[in-house]
């Protein structure tokens, strides 16, 4: 059995892969199906990539969820510039040329719970959850 929770600092590009791998390991431990392991791992690497590209540094925290529903919680935090036009990005109406926002939008589709708090003064905090069943 792996750890109950895990903090991964995102500083260099290699940390994205590290966060992804750790998330996938935790999902495997939790008994998530192969396809859901991949979904969570993909969502994590998208968040980690966003941190690396827009905020430069940040943190990915992984936590096991027990009762009432077993699963995994991923909290991505950074002290970056925040996401302008979050509503527009999440509405899917935002036409991005740089691909910005796609990661966030896609990540939401890959998990069961999704929450973003962002602002220029406080950086960005994204909470994802994926339940085991």
């Amino acid at each position: 059995m792996g750890p109950e929770s895990l903090d991964i600092a995102i500083k260099i590009e290699g940390d994205i892969v590290r966060a992804r791998g750790a998330g996938r390991d935790m999902c495997r431990d939790l008994g998530l199906s192969e396809i859901n392991q991949v979904k969570v791992a993909t969502a994590i690497s998208e968040l980690a990539r966003n941190i690396f590209h827009y905020a430069k540094t940040g943190n990915i925290a992984l936590r096991r969820l027990g009762a009432p529903r077993a699963g995994i919680e991923i909290i991505a935090t950074d002290k970056g510039p925040g996401i302008p036009d979050l509503k527009l990005v999440l509405s899917g109406a935002y036409k991005s040329k740089t691909g910005m926002g796609k990661g966030l939008l896609g990540a939401r589709r890959l998990v069961d719970f999704f929450e973003v708090d962002t602002g220029p003064d406080r950086g960005t905090r994204v909470v994802l959850r994926k339940y085991a069943r």
Partner: protein, 455 residues
């Protein structure tokens, strides 16, 4: 006109005015909803509708995206209702919400269940994208009102919300596809990088294996040729030719399988062979000693292989032949080709096995050919090239007098295959006895995929 008629008219006028006012308010709300894209704006409009049109102060709007997700509360009033922000799918509230939307054909009548949940008297309003997928749910507490009006609003809110949700879902799915595409490209790059490393490794292994096999020795009184053609870069076949005084000793072995594992086995066989070669007086003794060395040392590694060994006395033309589970040695003598079959079992399984040596004589101009089963068992559809064709090919090649009999045999196999691929490693070692070997020539040097070494 009576006073009662007057008052009746005034009353009706008043009612009409009231209805007109409501319709006007409702009309502007509908217009607003039609141009709305934001879920939050739709929620606010529903809130406005509850307050201004239905004149209720208690309401809640829940929204659910898909079957497995939870309900999110988009708006509610008043705060004192104390409703949870998010309602999990399995919770009693969620169940009440779901039941409320699936109990009756009439959407509004089915809301009674939902209304009960909020406390009577109450009215609930459901929003759906399709009969099976609930995407939104408004719960409004208040008095029963004009059903027709409500039905229209249900339709508008529902359409606006559905359009909004569909846009969002499409955008999300598109984003996921883009992410997956990027991931796939990344994975492909990784695979390509790893493949390059593996190819480089294999190339080094190939060069190593070729060096280990080496070129056959240059001897007086015989010319030796070798074709070594593994299926991949490395193979499970092995050959050796060494001169010791008047004795030319030829050895061919075939480790089961092909590729890297089999090629590693060839290393062990080669090293075992070199260790016992000089101490073995004849081929049978050599195979027995080699078998003992491999089977004893690497018992658990299951290094199974077949082999044939021939000693040629270059002074007398006397052949000593022994083989183990290997294709027969082909001897061309007096214009005829014949197979000399050995009776030995596979090598490497258990130590202590004994082998027989058979004797034959050749004269100058005759030939001895050893090979592995790759060329003999070349297969086109279900037809094997086979022993008979192989023997004829050897005889033709030998009689033709080409210095490279192997090339000629291989050409016959290739013609038979007619484009079909070989499916095993192939090795061919030929000796022409009594032919003075001119300067040693190597065709297809050690760096080529196929190695041909010839006089």
């Amino acid at each position: 006109m009576s006073r009662s008629e007057d008052s009746e008219r005034a009353r009706r006028l008043d009612t009409l005015e009231q209805r007109f006012e409501r319709l006007r308010a409702f009309g502007s709300l509908r217009r607003q909803l039609r141009v709305t894209e934001e879920v939050e704006v739709i929620a606010a409009a529903a809130q406005e509708f509850a307050r201004d049109v239905l004149h209720v102060t208690h309401f809640a709007l829940y929204c659910a995206e898909k079957e497995e997700s939870d309900f999110d509360l988009l708006s509610f009033a008043p705060e004192s209702l104390g409703l949870p922000r998010s309602v999990e799918r399995d919770s009693p509230i969620a169940k009440a919400l779901e039941e409320a939307t699936s109990t009756s054909d009439s959407e509004l009548l089915s809301m009674v269940g939902g209304a009960d949940f909020a406390g009577a008297p109450a009215l609930a309003l459901a929003l759906r994208a399709s009969p099976t997928q609930l995407i939104g749910f408004a719960l409004v507490k208040g008095d029963w009102l004009d059903t027709e009006l409500l039905d229209e609003l249900v339709f508008d809110v529902e359409s606006a919300l559905a359009a909004r949700m569909i846009t969002r879902l499409r955008a999300e799915e598109l984003a996921v596809l883009e992410i997956q595409e990027r991931e796939l490209v990344g994975l492909l790059r990784d695979v390509e990088a790893r493949d390059e490393i593996i190819q480089r490794d294999l190339e080094e292994a190939r060069q190593f294996q070729r060096k280990m096999l080496g070129a056959p020795p240059r001897v007086d009184g015989a010319s030796i040729e070798v074709i070594y053609q593994p299926l991949g870069l490395v193979g499970g076949d092995l050959y050796a030719a060494a001169i010791d005084g008047q004795r030319l000793r030829l050895f061919v072995a075939d480790a089961t399988g092909h590729g890297v594992r089999a090629s590693l086995t060839t290393m062990f066989i080669k090293s075992g062979y070199e260790a016992v070669r000089l101490g073995a007086p004849d081929p049978a003794a050599l195979l027995a000693a080699l078998n003992d060395a491999i089977a004893h040392t690497y018992r658990s590694s299951e290094m199974l292989f077949s082999a044939a060994c021939v000693d040629i006395d270059l002074a007398t033309g006397r052949l000593l032949i022994s083989s183990a589970a290997h294709p027969p040695v082909c001897v061309v003598s007096g214009g005829e080709a014949r197979y000399i079959e050995g009776a030995g079992a596979f090598l490497g399984l258990r130590s202590g096995m004994r082998f027989q040596t058979q004797e034959a004589f050749i004269r100058p101009g005759d030939g001895v050919y050893l090979y592995t089963d790759g060329f003999v068992e070349a297969r086109k559809q279900n037809e094997l090239f086979g022993d008979d064709r192989f023997r004829e090919a050897i005889l033709d090649a030998h009689r033709g007098g080409q210095r490279l009999a192997g090339e000629s045999v291989l050409a016959a196999v290739t013609a038979f295959l007619d484009g079909a691929p070989l499916d095993d490693d192939g090795t061919f070692v030929g000796v022409r006895y009594g032919v003075v070997q001119p300067s040693l020539r190597t065709t297809g040097d050690l760096d080529a995929a196929r190695t041909t070494v010839a006089p």
